[in-house]
């Protein structure tokens, strides 16, 4: 009978990790619905980006308040995983604080002591975060795309962290041998008097309950990631690694277009010759993007990585002047649509069944797309190197090249470029007139 807890624990652990793995595989499958793009060059620059931006949080701290609070929660998260490791070993083997015997009471006390301090700091940080989100009128938390699930999601994460930290403290405070050892209980020693007068059985019961809830909570939280913007704690790393390293102003030159333009400009090309690839029966390339599967996998990974922090939107000139465009919404819409496509594939035995919807119009409207000045402020701001602008541009390309649906004035501008070599209706022969004027 004494093995029952170990067995139950092991089952919970396997179930938790197994379910998580299943969902992560779904994320990877969905990301791979995107078009291929080569981001394997300049390995050292990529590692450097990842280490400084994801691991070192260098872009987070550009906004000092949220940056430092985030840093605390982040370090707390990383460090507390060592504690979780011990819990897992204890749980599987039925031991109690197994590391203590191996690393000595003093070192152990020092470690647990620092965990406790961090846990307390995390607790405080989370409360401040909650207040910023729900009480203080911070504009980027109040945008229209933050109603409903995104708002709840943000708060759920905070409640989760609060409860997990509290359970950790209670667990330590009611662990009688740990308190008696008197090392490492820097915070929990002030909580343990709350339990004075409890019988030792009750104390042990509380300790066990807190222990179980703590680890089960962590497993539940792990599985919550998939449904939440909190997925960024994992994806921030690959996302910064595969981020664009070219100058931000450099947009891709669509290769499919290059081939056609070369044919058009080549005086030797025979207009009646059969196009080379007709025999291969390739699906004609679609120019630009109208749905998530037209985007590349980095753009789709971006969507899953977005933390919905809204730093992009709060720097966006279009958004700041009341236009509908919000780069954060572009990322959230992309993820929502991708999830929808993924669910569709799951429901139809692995193939996508036409659902009459797409990213364009059903999620993102042309009005939003046309408001973008391509200023790159959103890209610069994003703490995890997401590029909302590239999605906007790909969708504009679709609007213009596949649907000829540019705003009228832009059509006029483009006609001018085509006919006069300038966006204005001036004669190219007048290009030098300015040198002759007074």
């Amino acid at each position: 009978m004494q093995y029952i807890p170990n067995i139950l624990f092991t089952i919970a652990l396997i179930a938790g990790i197994g379910f998580f793995t299943l969902n992560i595989r779904k994320v990877i499958r969905n990301i791979n619905l995107g078009k291929d793009i080569n981001r394997t060059d300049q390995k050292s620059a990529r590692w450097k980006n990842m280490l400084s931006i994801a691991f070192g949080q260098s872009k987070m701290v550009r906004r000092p308040i949220s940056g430092i609070l985030h840093l605390i929660v982040y370090i707390g998260f990383v460090i507390i995983n060592i504690e979780v490791l011990e819990i897992i070993v204890d749980g599987v083997l039925g031991t109690h604080r197994v590391f203590k015997d191996y690393i000595g009471t003093a070192t152990y006390g020092f470690l647990i002591g620092s965990f406790e301090v961090l846990a307390a700091l995390v607790f405080v940080a989370v409360i401040i975060f909650w207040t910023r989100r729900n009480v203080a009128n911070i504009k980027r938390f109040l945008s229209s795309e933050m109603k409903g699930w995104p708002k709840k999601d943000g708060n759920f994460i905070l409640y989760f962290e609060m409860v997990l930290m509290a359970l950790f403290m209670v667990m330590n405070a009611t662990d009688v041998p740990f308190q008696q050892a008197g090392t490492g209980n820097v915070i929990s020693q002030f909580i343990s008097p709350l339990f004075n007068g409890f019988s030792s059985e009750n104390l042990q019961l509380i300790e066990r309950t807190a222990w179980w809830l703590h680890i089960l909570g962590i497993l539940v939280f792990l599985n919550y990631l998939y449904y939440s913007k909190h997925l960024h704690i994992l994806l921030a790393f690959p996302n910064t690694y595969y981020a664009n390293l070219q100058p931000k102003g450099q947009f891709t030159n669509l290769e499919s277009v290059t081939n056609e333009v070369k044919l058009m400009l080549d005086p030797d090309a025979d207009p009646y010759a059969t196009p080379v690839d007709e025999s291969t029966e390739e699906v004609p390339e679609k120019f630009g993007a109208s749905d998530v599967t037209d985007l590349n996998w980095v753009q789709l990974m971006n969507a899953y990585t977005c933390t919905e922090c809204g730093r992009c939107t709060s720097a966006c000139p279009a958004n700041l002047t009341g236009k509908k465009l919000s780069p954060r919404k572009i990322m959230m819409d992309t993820r929502d649509r991708l999830e929808e496509v993924g669910r569709n594939i799951d429901a139809n035995n692995g193939t996508f069944k036409e659902d009459g919807k797409q990213l364009l119009n059903d999620y993102i409207t042309p009005e939003e797309l046309w408001a973008c000045t391509s200023c790159n402020a959103c890209v610069e701001e994003c703490p995890v190197n997401i590029d909302p602008l590239s999605i906007i541009m790909d969708m504009r390309r679709y609007l213009v090249m596949e649907e000829s649906a540019a705003p009228q004035e832009l059509n006029a501008m483009m006609t001018n470029i085509e006919n006069n070599g300038a966006p204005w209706p001036y004669n190219q022969q007048d290009r030098l007139n300015w040198t002759k004027e007074g």
């Binding site: 333009v261 541009m393 004035e409 470029i417 030098l432």
Partner: protein, 259 residues
């Protein structure tokens, strides 16, 4: 104004040191033409051997590309590259950050490889090489703020060369609350220059002008013909034309040196 063309140079069997890419705005827009002229005066003063393409220059295709028309962009790019490569151009300077970005970053992939400079970078080099001096007395003490063009700043991380030149004017340079990395767009980029803005509660150039006015400037310095137009319109909207002027850095230098 003596502005030689590549065709003339070629006829004389000469290859100039640098090609001045004037751009559509610099050629046709009344306000931007003044920037082109100011820059040419600086080139003359520093005795730079330069030429323009003149009637052989065509739109870089930047506006078409940002509007989403990759076809038109690549047509323009390939025609321009053919002309540039035909003249064996190696070095290009331009006063337009959009042309700068496109020529520098997007043409290489289509066969056009050049060393491309924004005019502020080029002038900075002239100074460093001792070919040009900026007179720091004529504009001394004026309050100046600089608006970073997105396609020079964030897009290519050129923040210092315009500031270096402004400081050399002996003026009092004050930064806006949003500057460099965090600078606000003037509202013209991404082909917005050529269309009405979407519905909102303000125009972007007005918001940016307000940023600038907070620094109580006498001069708003720009490094882009489109920013220049947007900020000038903003100043008019705010009815501040009497106290604030919008000037390209090339114009300021030309003024300081009484060219």
């Amino acid at each position: 104004m003596n502005v030689p063309t590549m065709a003339e140079m070629m006829a004389q069997g000469k290859q100039p040191e640098v090609l001045f890419w004037v751009g559509a705005a610099g050629s046709y827009d009344d306000r931007a033409k003044k920037i082109s002229k100011a820059f040419v005066k600086i080139l003359h003063e520093a005795k730079v051997d330069f030429a323009v393409l003149g009637v052989e220059e065509s739109s870089t295709g930047d506006a078409a590309k940002r509007a989403g028309n990759e076809f038109l962009f690549q047509m323009q790019a390939m025609m321009n590259i053919e002309v540039l490569n035909g003249y064996e151009v190696k070095k290009i300077v331009t006063c337009d950050p959009h042309s700068f970005n496109t020529l520098k970053n997007e043409y290489p992939g289509l066969g056009g490889n050049y060393e491309v400079f924004h005019h502020t970078q080029f002038i900075q080099n002239l100074i460093n090489e001792g070919r040009l001096k900026i007179n720091n007395t004529n504009l001394k003490g004026k309050r100046v703020t600089f608006h970073d063009p997105c396609y020079l700043g964030r897009a290519n991380e050129v923040y210092e060369s315009p500031r270096d030149l402004i400081r050399r004017l002996g003026v009092n340079l004050t930064e806006m609350k949003r500057s460099k990395r965090t600078a606000l767009c003037c509202g013209a980029g991404g082909a917005q220059m050529f269309k009405d803005a979407e519905k909102g509660d303000k125009e972007v150039n007005i918001l940016r002008t307000e940023d600038a006015l907070e620094t109580k400037p006498e001069i708003i310095a720009t490094g882009c013909p489109y920013c220049n137009t947007m900020m000038t319109d903003g100043i008019k909207f705010k009815e501040k034309e009497a106290s604030v002027t919008v000037k390209d850095i090339a114009e300021l230098i030309s003024e300081a040196n009484k060219l």
